[in-house]
């Protein structure tokens, strides 16, 4: 009698921790060593355009984190069944769907901000960071890790976005979070501001810098950020 002598494979596979050092690296790497904006210089278009005010930048950052994380998750879940010939189109459809969901939600929740961000929410579809992560990571990795990678890259982008916006709004408009429930007026020529330049005599010279409102200012600021980042993080310096 032919017995089924198939050897059982050892069932105990070494379980990887849900949030081990590898996962942590996925999350923190894009914040510093592999930042999508200051190191890879991706996603610059929207970083220049939406950063005049902090509040819309904040919303934009959340939107990108959401889209980046969930498109990575879905792409990774489908990665074995997506036909290779049409994979780019499939990724694009996933991103576009999520972006449309974000846009519709935003219009229902905060209509004024959705008017301010106008076309730039839609342009997340073409944000190279999102598509880049899908091609480079999610197509070849498991869902959980891809999700973390998406969150990490979204945060890396959003962090720089917020930093640029703080500089631009503070020096360009004298306020922070204008247009939001926690609007914070800091310096300006009326009694609404914390530092009123009309009554505090030694601040009488202060003027808002209109250059900061123009998009070229964002380019200078991002340039300075890249400079600071490189001189502060020795790993990024070319050894050649």
């Amino acid at each position: 009698m032919a017995e089924t002598t198939q050897l059982e494979k050892p069932a105990i596979k070494k379980r990887e921790p849900l949030f081990g050092p590898k996962e942590r690296k996925l999350l923190t790497d894009p914040l510093n060593d592999n930042n999508p904006i200051t190191v890879q210089v991706l996603g610059i278009c929207s970083a220049l355009a939406v950063t005049t005010l902090v509040w819309p930048s904040f919303i934009m950052a959340i939107a990108v984190v959401f889209v980046c994380a969930f498109s990575s998750l879905f792409t990774s879940l489908l990665r074995k069944s997506i036909p290779k010939q049409v994979r780019m189109i499939v990724q694009l459809v996933i991103i576009a769907t999520l972006v449309t969901i974000v846009e519709m939600t935003l219009r229902a929740v905060d209509y004024a901000v959705s008017r301010q961000l106008a076309v730039f929410i839609g342009l997340i579809i073409t944000n190279c960071i999102v598509m880049g992560r899908l091609e480079a990571f999610a197509m070849a990795n498991k869902p959980w890790r891809s999700f973390l990678d998406g969150v990490g890259n979204g945060l890396g982008y959003g962090g720089i976005l917020l930093a640029v916006a703080v500089v631009r709004e503070l020096f360009g408009k004298g306020s922070l979070f204008a247009g939001s429930p926690i609007e914070w007026k800091i310096i300006g020529p009326s009694a609404d501001y914390m530092l009123n330049t009309t009554t505090i005599s030694w601040l009488g010279w202060y003027q808002n810098n209109n250059l900061m409102v123009l998009s070229c200012a964002a380019m200078f600021i991002i340039g300075v950020f890249i400079w600071i980042h490189r001189s502060w993080n020795p790993k990024l310096v070319d050894v050649s």
């Binding site: 036909p83 189109i89 499939v90 219009r107 106008a118």
Partner: protein
Amino acid sequence: MHSKRYIYTFVLVMTAVVALVLALMATGLADIHERNAAIYNKKAILSAVDNYLEQPSSVLSDEQVMEIFDQQVEQVVVDAGGDPVEGRLAEDVDLAKEKDKPEAERHYPIYILNSPKGKVYIFSVRGNGLWDAIWGSIAIEDDFSTIAGVAFDHAGETPGLGAEIKDNPSFPAQFVGKEIYEGDGDYVSIKVRKGGAKDPVHEVDAISGATVTCDGVSEMMYRGLKNYEPYIDRVKK
């Protein structure tokens, strides 16, 4: 390699699922979107008459905006001859669409605010900036000449330059107190002058670096308010 049949099926199924999800969401949120858009527009109109409200329009809640519109605002629609059009609310008139009609068939919205601080007429105007459309609400006191307040908005002017017509409160503030009629009734409107206003009654300063947008505002003020002249003539009598 996947077969061709597999690829087609995959794409079809994916498209169907995505379409279903988005369609459900769009219909589900349509009411909220519509309400938000209506309140946003009403708030924009009220921002022209901040001086006549108890609180500035920027701090009004959605309910307060609706309440002011219900209790203090009378909505009138007039035709090109200045006669009132029955059965149409001002908020349903979209100037962008009226522009496509022949001039004689156009309708114009008027919002009359009866606030405790006085009666003002808010006229809607629309024109072109540098990149795209600009529009605004012009509030005029009941002498039909003195500007009580203005509010502008735009579709795509440059932030920091043309967009200042909306973002910089000192630009619309200049219009308050100017007059659109000269002496005994010659229509002159308000001009935005590059290099600084010369006529203290009919001109305001332009914004540096935004000449085309400011010329657009001048043009919009002149043409936009002229559309209301027949109405003004009729009511004045």
